[in-house]
């Protein structure tokens, strides 16, 4: 009789993490993003699709439904009302998923810091993986963020290969 080796909770956590890193390694080669934007964030992000910056050369395309998306871009302030929708979009996305918040509005409330109706720190409601500062951020900043995600994942893969789970 073969008995399954008992895995401690810590080891189980490590294994789950290793699995997630392996999934992310394939994901960074074709990132499909879903946009949840207000106007100013949108106008600054549209050039990224166009011919000057051309994000498709890294395999990044914009999808129309959260079910297809890997990365959720949230730009600008969220009101109490729109946050519900943002949460719902986040819940509809399949794992592994990444949330990138754009603009200073998502970090501190930005120029709406004293409004009664806006969310000051998005982190308190949705697990944000990366903030991009700016009001609104330039397209270059978005590329830098994407590059940082890629480097981060690749470093994780390297670490994983060095460890025993690789």
């Amino acid at each position: 009789m073969i008995r399954k080796r008992k895995i401690s909770a810590e080891e189980h956590k490590e294994l789950e993490k290793a699995k997630k890193i392996k999934k992310l390694e394939t994901e960074i080669k074709s990132i499909w993003i879903f946009n949840w934007f207000n106007s100013c964030g949108f106008t600054e992000l549209v050039p990224v699709v166009g011919s000057r910056w051309d994000m498709e050369r890294f395999g990044i395309i914009i999808t129309s439904t959260p079910r297809h998306a890997d990365v959720l871009f949230i730009a600008g302030y969220q009101t109490v009302k729109s946050l519900k929708r943002a949460k719902r979009i986040y819940e509809q996305m399949p794992e592994p998923r990444v949330v990138v918040a754009l603009g200073s509005c998502t970090m501190t409330g930005g120029m709406y810091w004293d409004s009664y109706n806006t969310i000051k720190r998005l982190e308190d409601y949705i697990p944000v993986d990366l903030y991009i500062p700016g009001c609104p951020p330039r397209p270059e900043a978005i590329f830098e963020a994407v590059h940082k995600i890629m480097v981060h994942v690749q470093e994780g893969v390297k670490k994983l290969k060095a460890s025993k789970h690789g």
Partner: protein, 332 residues
């Protein structure tokens, strides 16, 4: 060829179709990017997308009809791969020659679209249901011109060649139909060819006729609720369908082989034919799909129906009448 050899060849044909589809999809995306003065993704991007989708979570919505929702991607991909076995590929005869003909291929071509429709209806999302209804309307629109084209070719063959099984691909691809007609019939065939290229775009659900997947209107339409492995299978279906329809057009209208011209035989002739076939396939996909995709914007749903039911149908009927006049002129 013995039966066992044919069975052995079936997976090879399927892998060939998927591989060529992925290659041409990558080339297609690069060419579109270049036309918009962008750099474009690497050529292996469709493979990377597919690999990523296989890794992702497969979400089944709570409102969905589970078994239908999961079955339909498999049906769509398998029927598309089955069509590959009935169509002449790479300058050779179809693998299942004698077991099915053009009529069967026309019926099988409905299956992937119908699977998409059923998948959309079963996913329980209002966006997917609207998309499925639109997909059905588009399906009904382009079927009629397609039927007129295939019937007029078979009709021409039955008059000029006195062949009995005119729908068989053996007869169709052994006779170059352009050489069977006079100048009037040539114009008729040209019109039919153009209509078939026009139908190709609707069949693939690509840009001027992508009302069922309209990204900005109905959030992905039929595919709105699909994710992960199921979406990957639909992705492969679309890629393979490009090869299927491209080779159908080649089999009907451009069945030339380079080895017959040069009097070659053996392995060398086969590989040369395969290369020539791939070039023809590329040209058909480029002219029929890529160029239109880069140049046009999405039509409205009523415009799609008018374009197929009225314009494409009238043009193809006119082509049929021209061929009929040509046959009468020949027999006089």
């Amino acid at each position: 060829m013995s039966v066992w050899f044919k069975i052995l060849l079936i997976p090879i044909v399927a892998i060939f179709g998927v591989f060529i589809g992925m290659l041409y999809k990558g080339v297609d995306r690069i060419l579109i990017a270049r036309m918009q003065s962008r750099v474009g993704p690497p050529i292996s991007q469709p493979y990377r997308d597919f690999k990523k989708l296989m890794v992702k979570d497969n979400i089944i919505p709570r409102n969905a009809v589970k078994w239908l929702f999961n079955l339909m991607p498999v049906v769509a991909l398998s029927t598309t791969l089955i069509i590959l076995l009935y169509i002449p590929l790479g300058g050779t005869m179809p693998l299942l020659e004698g077991h099915g003909d053009l009529i069967l291929v026309l019926y099988l071509l409905i299956f992937p679209a119908l699977a998409l429709v059923l998948g959309g209806f079963s996913s329980g999302s209002p966006y997917a249901i609207i998309g499925a209804q639109r997909e059905m309307i588009v399906l009904m629109s382009y079927e009629f011109p397609l039927a007129i084209i295939s019937i007029s070719i078979a009709w021409l063959l039955s008059f000029t060649q006195q062949a009995t099984n005119v729908f068989s691909f053996l007869v169709i691809s052994n006779n170059v139909i352009w050489s069977l007609v006079g100048p009037v019939g040539f114009i008729g065939l040209l019109l039919l060819f153009l209509v078939l290229l026009f139908v190709m775009q609707g069949e693939l659900g690509r840009v001027p006729f992508d009302v069922s997947k309209a990204d900005t209107e109905i959030a992905g339409g039929v595919l709105a609720e699909y994710s992960g492995r199921n979406l990957a299978l639909f992705y492969l279906t679309n890629i393979t369908k490009m090869v299927v329809i491209g080779s159908l057009i080649i089999a009907l209208f451009l069945p030339w082989n380079i080895s017959a011209l040069l009097n070659l035989t053996g392995v060398f002739a086969y590989s040369l034919d395969l290369l020539f076939f791939l070039i023809k396939l590329f040209l058909v996909i480029f002219i029929g799909s890529t160029l239109i995709r880069a140049a046009a914007a999405r039509l409205k749903i009523n415009q799609v129906v008018t374009a197929y039911w009225l314009h494409a149908m009238l043009i193809s009927l006119f082509g049929l009448i021209l061929i009929w006049i040509d046959i009468i002129l020949q027999t006089l």
